[in-house]
Symmetry: C2
Subunit: 120 residues, 2 copies
Amino acid sequence: MVFKEILRDVVESVDGGIGAVIMGYDGIPIDEYVKDVAPFDIQLLAVEYTSVLKEVRRTIELLNTGEMEEISIITGLSRVIARAINSEFFVVLVLDSDGNYGKGRYLLKRDVVKLRDELR
Amino acid sequence: MVFKEILRDVVESVDGGIGAVIMGYDGIPIDEYVKDVAPFDIQLLAVEYTSVLKEVRRTIELLNTGEMEEISIITGLSRVIARAINSEFFVVLVLDSDGNYGKGRYLLKRDVVKLRDELR
């Protein structure tokens, strides 16, 4: 299964899904699936969140609290869930503010295994 | 109700609760409640997460996705939920890796209103 199909399956299976991107920690996207009606610039969001994830990873290493698994950022207009794929890549799922956060987290956790296999 | 009582109520009401801290974005803690058995340095964690939250707030402002509400960071050994109180302060709840994340989120969202009133 190619990356875009996995991403589309996640985005289309969750209420409020807007888009999903596979990103490198170097800020370069690998692949993405974004709905036509996306109210944000999902690409820009993914690039900007790379800085956040790098800061989080640095903090977690400093604190010795284990490997980074998932980061969620909830704002007035969006619910963003990022999940580590491996040491080089992560996947970001963007939902609108009414999106099904629990299902989004579940689908991302389930499918990150497929992404890890594809990126091997 | 004083800060520490609100924090204790949250920490003791959620399975896997370790501690909670009210922090300023300037990195100075207001009050905290930490269990005796805490496996991490909760104070250090809260200070380090301040940098993360400032980076997240900067990113959110840039992306125009509304006010920051909640950030969750899940690692191999911990589940940390941070919630904005107002423009100056936030509260951090730390759970162990088996902690009840859903209940922790719920309690923090519920009690942040009390904290906001106390900090007025």
